[in-house]
Symmetry: C2
Subunit: 333 residues, 2 copies
């Protein structure tokens, strides 16, 4: 799976700005891959990109129309089909990370088959995997882990990749979820692989590499999340990451989707992850904390980060406020 850039970002009839967060992530992290946005009547999201027609995007070189919007249920509404079908006819591939698959829409599948265009449903793996081996492989790897789901693991990984590249170092972001895959143009939705192959899929995603090359692997879920910890553990074992970055959102009242269940203490979460990671990477250690402090004012955030740094003896940053420089400094020590 390698989604061809540049992209035209399709926002459909997004109900609000948040509904277009996949497109927003692509525009933020891969602006060079985006020629514009395409919105249908009633769309309430705006990424501040040029509004272009299919034909204009095509003239600008766009090769893939990316569905960058999610709606309730992750379905493909009938109202999108004319636009999506026309895009295929004009020569675009399509890519989406919705629950409902592009390939399961008979009209889209027929046109794509006839014209030889590709339909990328990034939520489903498009290949099989071997079981993991745990064998030590060359190359450097960093994995973002979390106290919970949706605490900034993808954002942090992308920020670290960007910082490493800005320093002139070799680095690749490795995507494990649908938004990450659409940003990177490739990857594996690890929570959708057959359970036996979680670690094997991760070994495939971040294979042996040069000794001075960093793969920055997007984490999923949390060892502390009763719904998804199996995915997180397979990913941790397969990643074989020397550097782990612990992501969290201070002040979150409970684990995502599980009212009444508190988040784990940072220190416990750190220790459990290091213990488990060392099964396949004896050198693994948490090298810092990345916190989403959006719910705090600047002073509260500063205090929280200082306290966490003191408590754990590690750099603690909010990637959105101050960047990830201190994490990368520690990674490279």
């Amino acid at each position: 799976m390698q989604i061809a850039a540049p992209y035209l970002l399709f926002l459909g009839d997004a109900a609000d700005q948040l509904a277009a967060k996949t497109a927003d992530g692509i525009a933020r992290w891969r602006p060079q891959n985006v020629v514009g946005q395409l919105r249908l009547p009633g769309c309430r999201a705006d990424l501040g990109l040029p509004d272009v027609t299919l034909e204009q995007a095509q003239s600008a070189g766009a090769r893939t129309l990316v569905v960058g919007v999610a709606n309730r249920g992750g379905v493909i509404p009938a109202g999108w089909l004319d636009t999506l079908s026309r895009a295929i006819e004009l020569g675009f591939d399509l890519a989406a990370g919705l629950h409902q698959r592009l390939a399961d829409q008979p009209r889209l599948a027929a046109v794509a088959a006839q014209l030889g265009r590709r339909l990328f449903d990034v939520r489903q793996p498009d290949r099989g995997f071997e079981v993991g081996t745990g064998l030590l492989r060359p190359g450097k790897r960093c994995l973002t882990i979390g106290t919970d789901c949706s605490v900034g693991k993808m954002f942090t990984a992308l920020a670290i990749e960007k910082d490493l590249k800005a320093r002139g170092l070799k680095a690749d972001f490795r995507a494990t979820g649908q938004t990450g895959i659409l940003i990177a143009g490739s990857g594996v939705s690890v929570d959708a692989v057959v359970a036996d192959f979680i670690s094997g899929a991760t070994e495939w995603l971040a294979p042996a590499n040069q000794d001075d090359h960093w793969d920055i692997i997007e984490g999923q879920g949390s060892l502390a999340h009763p719904s998804y910890a199996g995915v997180s553990l397979g990913l941790l074992h397969g990643a074989q990451a020397q550097a782990l970055v612990l992501c969290t959102e201070p002040g979150r009242p409970h684990m995502r989707g599980l009212p009444g269940r508190p988040l784990p203490p940072l220190g416990e979460c750190l220790t459990l992850n290091e213990t488990c990671a060392r099964l396949t990477c004896p050198a693994a250690r948490v090298i810092g904390i990345a916190a989403n402090t959006a719910g705090m004012d600047a002073m509260q955030a500063r205090r929280w980060l200082d306290d966490a740094a003191d408590l754990l003896g590690l750099p603690a940053v909010d990637p959105l406020r101050g960047g990830v420089g201190p994490l990368v400094d520690r990674m490279l020590q």
Copy 2:
């Protein structure tokens, strides 16, 4: 999925006794569900059951022909198709746990569809699952965990179920692998579910129950196995078992399939499993050790079990030599 008993056990042209180990497990643990064995020319396995024809088995009340043999690659050889097809025509359902699916054999699928018979491919889940919640549910549960794959987790779970029932207590074996499912007639092959749903599938498999009812859940893999630990962790969280039984095979030179990788120390494996299990079941504890000491003589085995019991302060048994009574005593304390 509920496979109808009694069964006729199909051994095909098994190359040796070991190839028929699935059938052997069924005959050992559910003899009341078995009317006989059916062997093709060249079969080198013999379970010591009556050799019967399809027609004789039918007269004896058999409702399902169970493929109890595995061959290299898990395929359905062309030489079996006449017999399997004829069984469907006579009114049998078919069940198998091979990689190749009965339902993917056009000839079998056509006859089964025409006559309304069922084809059970127990390696693939036949339904979807919700994600796990980790919410505490009533009922008592025991999960067999392991230092490695193939150390006797299914055998131990079945032995515990049998012991509980012999004491007049309410207990159900809950199968998580293909042989276990064919023995129990139902279950979920948890390593074949989509990764996101490992714990949810386990919650479904061993649901809320009466306070004095025990579900004895078959474990899979090991938290210490780099290939499969994700499955083991999701199963541990979903099982929400108050009682864990740690299974092992003393003297095994390396983790299954991974030459050079030693088995974890028993104590470390115990601690890690208890730590992780308490996320969804704060009362979880390892209540004993079940060792497969087949590679030792009686005196060596006795010494190993005594040493393990002293080291961990827990009962240690070989289910095949002395039964699981001491484990059940401890479970019920």
